[in-house]
């Protein structure tokens, strides 16, 4: 078995607001192997971004990691000082966000920003940094990179800006790339280009990727393993083929059934009843009980554990607590 590059263990991240504690992430555990592409999927507010920001130690007040470990190369990042974490962030682990315009500084050229990112972590002179930036821009498919080097962010299209973000994220050959909804704001045509680019790069450089999205189509095309989150917890984890072929958790099933598909004839879409819960109004017992067509009395009283089965999947549901299992 290949070693784990990253291990998130029992992560709890809460926000201590004036109106009380918001338990955004509650006991999330998963791991990422070298070169592996992991997808995290789930509805708005289920804790996807908070999980990824926790990995990079980017949770600011009033938020706090209250429990858990983030092991990167076996070292727990939660124990790192700000100075130590800066050596990792943007270097060994980098991140791209949904809206590239807010992550780019409008007053500097994109070339300047990529060069600075390179020089922050690597001992190279300005000229060398410029050369590398231009070759990165070429690598992410920018036409005429020598000229684009001098362009300001607002002059570029959304797709071009996201390419710049990817170039910047790759500037230090990261071992892990966290992409939080990298294509949600883009047209499908541009999304296709960006996803292909990310995939090629991960194949070529053996970069591990955590891809966060709510689009099951993107998951199906891109990732090796899928983590499904609901209400701050992981409710199911499996390899991508098994998850789509044989979803086990009622929420995963509901999500697949409510996704319209262009490659199939029209059947009535099944929706999941009810609304997406916010973390401060989660029920006791199973988080999904109010929307679950299979809910039983037990579900209202006790929270099911995430249980790993011998086939490599994990599910958090009273319907799937088989006998031969290992608790995680």
């Amino acid at each position: 078995m290949t070693e784990n590059l990253l291990e998130v263990k029992n992560l709890h991240t809460h926000f201590f607001t004036e109106n009380g504690v918001i338990p955004s992430v509650n006991g999330v555990s998963f791991s990422v192997k070298k070169g592996e592409v992991i997808g995290i999927v789930g509805e708005s507010g289920c804790g996807k971004s908070v999980t990824s920001l926790s990995i990079l130690q980017l949770i600011n007040k009033p938020g706090k990691i209250v429990e858990g470990e983030i092991r990167f190369h076996e070292k727990d990042l939660t124990t790192f000082s700000e100075k130590e974490i800066r050596k990792i962030r943007g270097n060994k682990i980098s991140m791209i966000f949904q809206e590239p315009l807010t992550s780019l500084n409008p007053v500097f050229t994109i070339g300047h920003q990529i060069s600075e990112a390179i020089r922050l972590h690597q001992d190279v002179d300005k000229k060398e940094a410029k050369q590398r930036s231009i070759s990165l821009l070429r690598k992410v498919g920018m036409a005429n990179p020598e000229r684009q080097y001098h362009a300001f962010p607002h002059l570029l299209s959304g797709g071009m800006r996201q390419r710049v973000m990817i170039a910047m994220a790759l500037s230090c050959n990261p071992e892990l790339l966290i992409a939080d909804e990298p294509t949600t704001a883009l047209d499908v045509t541009i999304q296709k280009q960006i996803l292909k680019l990310m995939k090629n790069l991960s194949n070529e450089l053996n970069t591990s990727i955590i891809l966060i999205t709510h689009d099951l189509g993107v998951i199906a095309e891109m990732v090796d393993r899928v983590v499904v989150m609901y209400g701050g917890e992981i409710v199911e984890e499996n390899d991508v083929y098994s998850l789509f072929e044989n979803p086990k958790h009622p929420y995963t099933k509901g999500l697949l059934n409510s996704t319209p598909k262009i490659h199939q004839l029209k059947e009535k879409l099944q929706s999941i009843e009810g609304n997406v819960p916010t973390p401060d109004q989660l029920p006791s017992g199973c988080n999904f009980q109010d929307r679950c067509p299979f809910a039983m009395d037990k579900c209202r009283e006790l929270s099911p554990n995430l249980v790993a089965s011998t086939d490599g999947s994990s599910v958090r549901c009273w319907l799937h607590q088989e006998k031969e299992v290992v608790n995680v």
Binding site: K192, H214, A220
Partner: protein
């Protein structure tokens, strides 16, 4: 046949909405004398007609003119050129009484349920507002009607006294829909009504629209980024590119016999939620980004990105033409010909 029956029959056959050579050009800069120097041809010579009871989907990349077209049909913005007929009446030359009547019969649902509802108004008043404005109901009857509407969109009348921020995104969209159907409209233009919603909630709203369409005999224009959702809800689909309709057909035909290279690229870019089809679906056809809309090419608007373009395409604009099945395409060399 009596004259009346004849008239009725021709009315039934007549399209509910007819749009002819519709254009909207936004002036983005003027010269020294205040004359337009540069303009964006957001909508450029669009023709379409809508039968009663059908749902027409509109798809295309961001900026291709979908919203501008919807807004122009509703006369929320004035077109630069062209004409619009609603139930045979010329919308652009209506008397104010006629216009007021049309404003009742044509409604709109927006993408962003957060900003399209007045945050200081209670849900009851939000839904009652159009009924009050058009003096459609008062007092007890008004209350009853609002409760009925809440019920129709799957909300409870106990929620009538709450404010929009006390609802989730999907619930707010339901409120927007209740408001839009309050005056029993004939046509609703839905501009990306599910784009901002979670997947599980999108399906709820799509099914609600389908159900209401049946129940209230609505005709819908459904604008959307999400091609799978548009396919699900529509009977016919128009594909827009840079202000023009480049292909329009029944949805089965559009997907099974795609004729325009742009439509083909657009459809092939949609990620398929089935990992076993990964290899099959992995082909990017549209490599380039949209060109600058201020300098439209003389010939085919898709020329700069088309893998099949020839010299003819560069100089000569293809017209939107139908084949025997009524499948319309604007291309000199349509696929599946």
């Amino acid at each position: 046949m009596t004259q009346q029956v004849q008239k009725k029959q021709s009315l039934m056959k007549a399209p509910l909405l007819e749009v002819k050579e519709l254009s909207k050009h936004f002036v983005v800069s003027t010269n020294l004398f205040g004359k337009p120097k540069e303009s964006v041809k957001a909508v450029n010579g669009v023709n379409l007609s809508l039968k009663k009871g059908e749902t027409l989907g509109i798809v295309g990349e961001s900026g291709c003119g979908k919203s501008t077209m919807g807004n122009t049909i509703l006369r929320l913005i004035e077109p630069t050129k062209g004409s619009i007929f609603f139930e045979g009446q010329d919308v652009l030359n209506m008397t104010s009484t006629q216009l007021q009547k049309m404003r009742k019969e044509v409604q709109m649902i927006f993408q962003d349920p957060f900003s399209s509802l007045n945050p200081r108004m209670r849900v009851f008043d939000i839904i009652a507002e159009p009924l009050r404005t058009h003096k459609a109901a008062v007092g007890k009857e008004l209350q009853q009607r609002v409760y009925e509407l809440l019920n129709l969109v799957g909300l409870d009348h106990s929620q009538a006294n709450r404010f929009p921020h006390q609802f989730s995104g999907g619930q707010r969209q339901r409120i927007g829909i209740a408001r839009a159907i309050a005056l029993k409209p004939k046509l609703i233009v839905c501009d990306e009504p599910v784009s901002a919603l979670d997947v599980s909630i999108q399906a709820q709203i799509l099914n609600l629209l389908l159900e209401l369409k049946e129940k209230l005999q609505l005709t819908l224009i459904f604008i959307g980024h999400g091609i799978p959702a548009v396919k699900y809800i529509s009977d016919r689909i128009a594909v827009m590119y840079m202000g023009e309709i480049v292909e329009m057909a029944d949805k089965e035909s559009l997907f099974a016999n795609t004729r325009h290279p742009y439509t083909q690229g657009l459809i092939s870019a949609v990620p398929i939620p089935d990992p076993s089809l990964r290899e099959v679906s992995e082909q990017v056809i549209l490599e380039k980004d949209l060109p600058d809309q201020r300098n439209l090419p003389k010939g085919c608007s898709f020329y700069s990105r088309c893998p099949f373009a020839t010299e003819k395409c560069k100089g000569q604009k293809p017209e939107l033409k139908a084949n025997e099945e009524g499948h319309l395409v604007a291309c000199h060399y349509p696929l599946h010909a």
